[in-house]
């Protein structure tokens, strides 16, 4: 069986490593193959961007060579796909090479798309790429006080990012000794300060305790040099605007007509592209209405690897993805919490502790074992 993995991010990497271990004998005997196509020879630990943006991590700490993370039995090529021919089971990559498959797993991820809001790209700080995160930190360093507005687009990668960047900004300004000169104003698209109700119920009083203003039902419409206007008719002047922009899937998905806004219609339990039995989708690339988070991709990848190995062996795929998501929540002041939930069980986040913060700090390093499929 030929398995083709498109994308070398968290989902694609964990999937390929997990499958390679399960199919070790078949791969060694040459009866099966796993090929991964990626746009880069580097693997980025994307949650690190949040830390880079506030000066708590250097960019180089976010990267490893992709080949160093993959099982040796996986063929890896830096050759991003340009054309998907799902009817005939092959793709064409940038080099012009054609790659045939029996099973394809699409895990191309998502990207911030600030361009969807007029003026946002020009006037807001963001942190979803390395250059943006570094530029944000440079701007923060120059800031000596004034009004900071946090504005959030939908959908976005990492559901905790709006809260985390807000709490981390408080820490940053306190450490610089300018917190008293900062008026921090948090906005959120729906009628509470976070999509998860228990998290919102905890966060709103925290905002009040710290002196953070907040405004709900705020969806970005337009940004000028120092004002942001919402679809709901509100206006906020700012000295610094920090945004979590709305995200889209990758352009190649849209260009090939595989999904609206680059998100592929995916069965929420079987993880196959709707209407296709040998096309599977992982992580941010799906249109499943759950968190676009690394843990989502991680848990989906484990289920899919088990199923595809089982399909190869016995023709049966035994597992359903249960919607499991686990998100750390950095809450500032050296503490963190977490939220864990699935399709059936809502989250029940606990009070933040220093222990969870240190575990998250450790996980920032342990991630590389996770990507290798060891954790």
């Amino acid at each position: 069986m030929k398995v083709l993995v498109i994308g070398g991010g968290m989902g694609g990497t964990i999937f390929a490593n997990n499958l390679a271990r399960r199919m070790r004998k078949e791969l060694k005997a040459g009866k099966s193959s796993i090929t991964m196509l990626s746009a880069s020879d580097q693997h980025m630990y994307q949650p690190g961007l949040l830390y880079v943006a506030v000066g708590k991590m250097q960019p180089s700490e976010m990267y490893r060579d992709q080949t160093s993370l993959l099982e040796p039995s996986i063929r890896f090529e830096v050759d991003p796909v340009t054309t998907f021919d799902l009817d005939n089971n092959y793709v064409i990559a940038k080099s012009g090479a054609r790659y045939d498959y029996d099973m394809i797993v699409i895990a191309t991820g998502s990207r911030a798309h600030a361009e969807s809001i007029p003026g946002l790209n020009e006037h807001a700080l963001q942190f979803y790429t390395e250059p943006d995160a570094v530029a944000m930190y440079k701007q923060l360093e120059k800031f000596e006080g004034g009004k900071v507005v946090v504005a959030v687009g939908v959908p976005h990668k990492c559901p905790m990012a709006p809260l985390e960047i807000t709490f981390m900004l408080v820490d940053y300004f306190k450490q610089r000794g300018i917190w008293e000169k900062v008026d921090l104003h948090y906005t959120y698209p729906i009628g509470r300060v976070h999509s998860l109700e228990p998290v919102a119920k905890w966060a709103a009083p925290e905002f009040e305790r710290l002196g953070i203003q907040y405004e709900t039902f705020f969806n970005m419409k337009e940004v000028t040099q120092n004002t942001i206007i919402s679809e709901e008719g509100s206006e906020q002047a700012f000295d610094l605007l920090v945004t979590i922009p709305a995200h889209k899937g990758m352009q190649v998905i849209e260009d090939n007509g595989l999904g609206v806004s680059g998100f592929i219609a995916t069965d929420r339990q079987r993880l196959n592209m709707e209407g296709r039995d040998n096309v599977f989708v992982l992580g941010d690339t799906t249109n499943i209405p759950i968190s676009k988070a690394g843990s989502t991709a991680h848990y989906e990848a484990e289920v899919l690897a088990e199923n595809i190995a089982a399909l190869a062996e016995s023709g049966i795929a035994p597992r359903n993805y249960d919607g499991k998501v686990f998100c750390f929540i950095e809450t500032g002041e050296g503490k963190a919490s977490y939220a864990m939930f699935d399709y059936q069980n809502p989250p029940d986040p606990k009070a933040p502790t220093a222990g969870v913060h240190w575990f998250k700090t450790a996980y920032n390093k342990m991630y590389w074992a996770s990507a290798r499929g060891l954790l």
């Binding site: 959908p155 559901p159 698209p189 729906i190 998860l196 039902f217 969806n219 709901e232 209405p289 989250p347």
Partner: protein, 76 residues
């Protein structure tokens, strides 16, 4: 007007039905109808509240076997 788009947010907690609707609204054309399916009873309140604030229209809202259906139309 195109066919009514279904936004199936049943049994999901994050980002949740209203966030899914907001994302879908961006892709919709003026005049399009969207039907949100939600198992969160709160959707019957927070979706109409947001729709009213932004100036769209709620066409119907009902509970059918534990699933809330909220039907809206994009007005601008």
């Amino acid at each position: 007007m195109s066919d009514r788009k279904i936004v199936d947010a049943k049994n999901t907690f994050c980002p949740g039905p209203l966030m899914e609707l907001i994302a879908s609204m961006k892709q919709a054309e003026v005049g399009d109808e969207l039907e949100v399916l939600s198992t969160d009873e709160g959707s019957a309140n927070d979706i109409p509240e947001w729709i009213k604030k932004v100036g769209h229209q709620v066409l119907d809202s009902f509970d059918e076997n534990g699933v809330w259906h909220v039907i809206v139309r994009k007005e601008k």
